[in-house]
């Protein structure tokens, strides 16, 4: 049943993405139908994770499958929240593939608890992982906005009035999404990192700098700190902030892939 709900959510998210692609091809802003499909996918997805929590009496935060699914849920929440503004519905074009990747991975590796379930529990751990996931989701939204900003900025400057011009939101809307994504994501990531540190202290350990998750968290935090600093400099900030946010996303992605490839243990989020 849990897997079935995840598969259904995957299909709905994929359908929403196809609708986005169609809109992009036609150079038209996405309609309400795509938002409804995302909403349906989100409801089914949440039901799947709720069923997991009820079935295993544990939050879906530990283990690659459950954790990927939870992160996907947070990102799709951002997609839906952004869609409240008609002109920001297009954000799904970049965020939904991320949701599909994470959900697809969860489905492939299995959405089941791992043997480490007992070790990874307690309020500090829940706060640590939840905050980190909200942080990543917020930063993903900020990054999607920044990438779209760069494309739209180029289209407007170069006067190419094609699909990007028609489908992507206005620069101001994208700048606001970037700002909101950073405003939610960065503090949440900071809280998550601090909670993780506090959680390790309960074991009598310090900051686990040899842990891939810790490294990724710190790299992401630093990259986005630079992006926030870029926003506060005087002069036309939109393009600069967008470019630096996009670079921060790339840095995070590269760090994630590098750590994933070199990780000694498998079965964790990293």
């Amino acid at each position: 049943m849990i897997l079935g709900l995840h598969l259904l959510a995957f299909v709905l998210y994929a359908t929403a993405w196809v609708l986005q692609l169609q809109g992009f091809r036609g150079g038209r802003q996405p309609g309400i139908s795509g938002v409804r499909v995302v909403g349906g996918g989100l409801a089914v997805h949440a039901a799947g994770l709720l069923l997991y929590a009820l079935s295993y009496r544990s939050l879906p935060l530990v283990g690659l499958g459950p954790a990927s699914s939870s992160l996907a849920l947070f990102i799709s929440l951002f997609v839906l929240a952004a869609s409240v503004r008609t002109d920001l519905r297009a954000a799904g074009l970049f965020l939904l593939p991320l949701v599909l990747l994470l959900l697809g991975e969860a489905v492939v590796v299995g959405i089941e608890p791992t043997g480490r379930q007992i070790a990874f529990r307690g309020p500090w751990f829940v706060l640590h992982v939840s905050a980190i996931f909200i942080g990543f989701a917020g930063l993903a939204a900020a990054s999607a906005a920044s990438i779209m900003y760069v494309f739209q900025f180029r289209a407007l400057k170069r006067k190419t009035f094609g699909s990007v011009f028609g489908f992507f939101p206005a620069l101001d809307s994208l700048d606001r999404l970037n700002k909101v994504g950073l405003a939610v994501g960065f503090p949440a990531l900071s809280v998550g990192l601090l909670a993780g540190w506090s959680w390790t202290l309960t074991f009598g350990r310090g900051l686990a700098l040899d842990n891939p998750g810790t490294i990724l968290g710190i790299v992401t935090w630093a990259a986005y700190l630079v992006a926030i600093a870029a926003r506060s400099r005087p002069g036309p900030r939109g393009e600069r902030a967008a470019v630096i946010s996009a670079v921060a996303f790339l840095v995070t992605l590269v760090a994630f892939l590098a750590l994933r490839i070199t990780a000694r243990e498998t079965g964790f989020f990293l």
Partner: protein
């Protein structure tokens, strides 16, 4: 049967030059006299005049289309210095289904100069409202025709993408500014040069929520005149540089031979300004140095760029024209089915009355020789003849209704109507009044069929 039909006589940007369209244009003040003049002809039952800068059309419901057409041509010619024969070269004529289809295309914006423009739908509504305000101008046929046309126009806009995008230079300017700022609510704009195009663009921006407006002109009086019309603040050209860093949108439309906005002046005026500036140069020759577009945070568009946006919209609209045409054709067919079924209603009633007359006569002749029959047997025989008549007439009724929807079957219906008149020796098939038609049930004419089918079921 009623021989009246729908007729359209008109001219538009497809057939007539602007000079002629301007002369033929019927404004709100003179439409009453024009309609009265046309309605003076006994051949015309109903009349609506649709007149815009791109078209003037007379929609007529007339007993004699040829006479009605001549009256409309005279009305057009009277507004020019041409005779009816000369003006006819610029006119088009449509009848019946084609007239309906034409009006629906017009209401849907498919016949407009800028395909998909929305203004025409309001103009169709205004023409209808004007007709309603004139005595006897709008009857049941044009009432339904114009109501349907407005519904079709709405459906074209809501069910297709035909109306999307920017289809004029001012709307393209708004669209570009909106792609930078999102909402234009609360933004500020400055127009440099109070020419017609600049002011039109400014009006478009104002309709999108621009709150702060500056009008700069070489002569301050002209700027003040413009401000008196649209609001805002008038400044001289010398004051532009002191205020340009405070505005979000600049529209330039002067007739200056040299650039008014230069790279160096704008760069020094904006300094480290953080907010973007959209510069819309709609002047020819250009008012803004091309290098201005390279300044950080400045988005510069000239008339060619705006035309590109309009071109992209037109291309998208052409792609959307096919589904809109299908929608219009469907609605026109539906209307025509109603119109024809409304016409065959009296014919069907005449046919049934004729049959009933024969039935009663034959029944009477039969019962004369059957005096010993009980009352119940008489009732049974009467019911049997009624059933027989209904069963015989049912296929003809259905076939007539189907034929009514087929423009190619008009001749057949006319012949049948004439035969029936000959058979009854009266004008029975023509005898239905408008009130009878209107009270016979739903306007799609289904009531007649329903009544007849109910009778058949009872039989």
């Amino acid at each position: 049967m009623d021989d009246a039909t729908l007729a359209l006589v008109g001219l538009s940007h497809h057939t007539a030059p602007i000079e002629l369209r301007e002369r033929v244009y019927v404004d709100a003040a003179s439409v009453r006299d024009t309609v009265r003049e046309v309605m003076a002809s006994t051949a015309i039952h109903e009349c609506v005049v649709l007149s815009t800068c791109n078209r003037t059309e007379f929609y007529l419901h007339a007993a004699d289309p040829a006479s009605a057409e001549a009256v409309a041509i005279d009305a057009v010619a009277a507004r020019t210095d041409m005779g009816p024969g000369e003006v006819e070269a610029f006119l088009y004529h449509r009848y019946g289904h084609d007239a309906v289809h034409h009006l629906f295309r017009v209401a849907g914006g498919l016949d407009s100069l800028v395909v998909g423009e929305a203004e025409i739908l309001g103009q169709v509504g205004d023409a209808y409202e004007m007709g309603l305000s004139l005595p006897d101008s709008v009857g049941p046929v044009l009432h339904r025709l114009f109501q349907s046309a407005q519904a079709v126009g709405g459906a074209v806009r809501s069910e297709t993408s035909l109306g999307r995008g920017a289809a004029s230079i001012p709307s393209a300017a708004v669209r570009l500014a909106a792609k930078v700022f999102g909402s234009l609510e609360g933004k500020s704009a400055m127009v440099v040069g109070a020419g017609e195009m600049g002011v039109t663009t400014l009006r478009c921006l104002l309709s999108e929520g621009i709150s702060d407006v500056l009008v700069a002109n070489r002569t301050l009086d002209r700027a003040k005149e413009t401000v008196a019309q649209i609001g805002g603040r008038a400044i001289s050209l010398e004051d532009v540089w002191g205020t340009i860093s405070d505005v979000d949108i600049v529209v330039t439309s002067t007739s200056a031979a040299e650039p008014v906005v230069t790279h160096d002046r704008l760069e020094s005026s904006r300094g480290q300004a953080g907010s973007p500036l959209v510069v819309l140069d709609i002047a020819l020759p250009r008012d803004v140095e091309p290098g201005v577009g390279g300044l950080p945070g400045v988005f510069l568009y000239n008339i060619d760029d705006l035309q590109k946006v309009v071109g992209a919209t037109e291309e998208a609209r052409r792609a959307e024209a096919a589904p809109a045409e299908t929608l219009v054709t469907d609605h026109a067919t539906r209307f025509w089915r109603w119109y024809r079924s409304r016409e065959v209603g009296p014919l069907i009633r005449g046919l049934r009355a004729h049959g009933e007359e024969i039935r009663l006569a034959e029944l009477e002749r039969l019962l004369v020789g059957l005096d010993g029959l009980s009352e119940s047997d008489r009732e049974r025989i009467e019911a049997a003849t009624r059933r027989l008549l209904n069963k015989l007439l049912h296929p003809s009724t259905v076939a007539l209704r189907q034929a009514a929807a087929d423009p190619n079957a008009i001749g057949f219906i006319d012949r049948l109507s004439a035969e029936l008149r000959l058979a009854t020796g009266s004008g029975q098939a023509q005898g239905a009044t408008e009130d009878e038609i209107e009270s016979s049930g739903p306007a799609d004419g289904s009531a007649d069929a329903e009544n007849e089918e109910t009778n058949e079921a009872r039989g």
